[in-house]
Symmetry: C2
Subunit: 376 residues, 2 copies
């Protein structure tokens, strides 16, 4: 994997870049649609590629390990072939998912023992095991196994956890170095900065992670309930330590406004379930604000879903029609809203990139943040 920094905004830390892997190039800043269980919910792979057009998507190790399982994925020749997606894939390490299981998991130095949310069966994730699983999945970018701390988090717990995450990282690096990719394309490991919302811990962690010398670095443990300002403060501080010449991935973030603010702080990569999850609840993101399409006010509004036409659905269907689909709970409503929201997120990233290249990112961002906070 290589990363080329193409432009930096003169009035912020925003960067435009290009990552190159065996599955092609990823223009940054990038938002990665979440394909938890080998599918971006409600969206065909062809639509994802041709309409939404991300250079990379994300899969979830925890979910894929449980179903279809690594045996099936190996037989299929990896996740790319299994789901018919020939661009880049990043897999998270399962750290966040097992952390979410709360009562049904036990974290020890060796790893995390957890109970499957499906059948209650017991499983153990270790740093080594999770590297092996991600080898079998065949992701282009593999995430280190970490503990994602909750918010708020006791300082002592956060510190202890951070150190364990660092020890786990060493084990991940060792395992990756001892093993080979299975499907003929390279895989690269991104370590994850932790440290909750404590500046000194974030600093220590960022230094530790920077020293690993990975091809890209991630910031985890944010967007777990803390106020936006705390998130931005942490991102800013961590980015001042992480190497300039490597892509920075802020995990699990966020709203369109969160994306632009973090781009301004030097983040290059994002993922979040928000565009698809909110879509399924009838919430649409647009450049002028957000819409609750279930609202009666759209009942007889026959204008296009979005005149900006990020994807074909935006002008193929009207607001009144989409509102009808939600009011009668039709599948097509979920499909349309998901495509729209993802199309908007990817458009926002392409637009941000162009503004960075043009040197006008900062003022554009401030206007967009204002617009996008409006309820339509």
């Amino acid at each position: 994997m290589t990363f080329e920094k193409l432009a930096v905004d003169p009035n912020s830390k925003a960067r435009a870049g290009k990552i190159t892997t065996d599955h092609g190039t990823i223009e940054t800043p990038i938002f990665m649609p979440v394909g938890t269980r080998a599918t971006v919910k409600g969206v065909h792979q062809r639509e994802l590629k041709e309409e939404i057009n991300p250079d990379i998507i994300l899969g979830n190790t925890y979910h894929l390990y449980l179903r279809p399982g690594t045996d099936i994925l190996e037989k299929a020749g990896g996740l790319h072939k299994f789901m018919n997606w020939d661009r880049n894939i990043l897999t998270d390490s399962g750290g966040f998912q097992v952390y979410s299981l709360s009562a049904n998991r036990k974290i020890k130095e060796n790893g995390v023992k957890f109970k499957s949310h499906i059948d209650g069966s017991t499983h153990l994730f270790t740093p080594e095991g999770v590297m092996d699983i991600q080898r079998k999945i065949g992701a282009d970018i593999i995430m280190a196994f970490d503990e994602c701390t909750p918010y708020p988090c006791d300082y002592r717990y956060a510190k202890r956890s951070m150190h364990m995450t660092h020890r786990w990282l060493d084990r991940c690096v060792k395992r990756i170095n001892e093993t080979d990719p299975l499907y003929g394309h390279n895989q690269t490991l991104f370590p994850i900065v932790q440290g909750s919302t404590y500046k000194d811990l974030r600093e220590q962690s960022a230094e530790y992670i920077a020293n690993v010398g990975a091809e890209g670095n991630a910031i985890g443990g944010l967007s777990v309930g803390e106020p936006d300002d705390e998130m931005y403060a942490m991102t800013e501080h961590v980015n001042s330590i992480l190497p300039e010449d490597k892509p920075r991935y802020l995990m699990g973030v966020g709203t369109p406004v969160n994306l632009l603010e973090n781009i301004a702080l030097g983040v290059d990569m994002f993922d979040c379930v928000m565009p698809t999850r909110n879509a399924r609840n009838g919430m649409l993101f647009t450049a002028n604000g957000f819409i609750n399409i279930k609202n009666k006010k759209w009942e007889d509004n026959f204008s296009a879903i979005d005149e900006n036409a990020y994807t074909w659905v935006d002008t193929a269907y009207s607001k009144a029609y989409l509102r009808h689909l939600f009011s009668v709970k039709e599948l097509l409503g979920l499909q349309i809203a998901s495509i729209h929201n993802l199309g908007f997120y990817l458009w926002l990233m392409r637009e941000a990139r162009q503004k960075i290249i043009d040197g006008t990112f900062r003022t554009w961002k401030e206007q967009m943040v204002k617009n996008m906070n409006t309820r339509l």
Copy 2:
């Protein structure tokens, strides 16, 4: 509306034809995908048009009347514009739906009083009212308001009901003649033959309907639980009376085998929820038999869903992948299976048409019936 009979199979009563309306031509035999509530479940209008490619789809008066309601549809400029579908639409009359409400409806000479399945509110469907609703929906083909009798049905009830359906038909014809289409395209009324599974009643009804001189005729009250042989016997008898030079529409039928058998008896048009409903339950129809994709045997079968490639999904995704989507209950599974099944149904109709034109329908049909009855 015009109907041109282009070919008749020398060894059966199967016909190939062409219907022409203001929304274009309909090549027969045709299967009409069911778009109950202004959407064919799980299928985008673009996929419907470009991949499945039916010349006509069906909407349900009962459902559209309740939601979004005729006010919204009128403001939208009719159902075609509301849902963005520029080919033909046929609407049923709501007769079948109100009949299905059983306990929540009361049938009288004037019409049917029923309670909405949504909020329990009371509504009245009369022949005149249903014509007005279908004018507002703007369907190209409007169905007469009828009573669909259950199976089995007491002879006296079937006879009384049939006569009422005939009287209702007269009221429908009168109302249609007194009113005009609202959106600049013509609308034509199809009357419906009833008479349960009684040959003499079916004969009387077919004669009554034939005398109306409509541009097309329908056969209702079948596929409600009777054995296939009784259905075929009724269709055959009715078709011997209905005019040769008008299209014949067998309502609510059926399996792929039912379609071919009824085509052999001279039926030109079909509709059924089966391809989409069964798709959502994981049942796939193919030219070689049917598949329960949830079955564990497909878990590691990485072959294409269907090598015949009726639509792009058939070769874009594998059986193992589709099985995975069903096992984790992902939306995309429903979407893929729906497109596949509809693609197959429409392919079957196009193939039947070509065989009729070639004069080889009968032997082809017998082989296909054998194949399609196989469980794969």
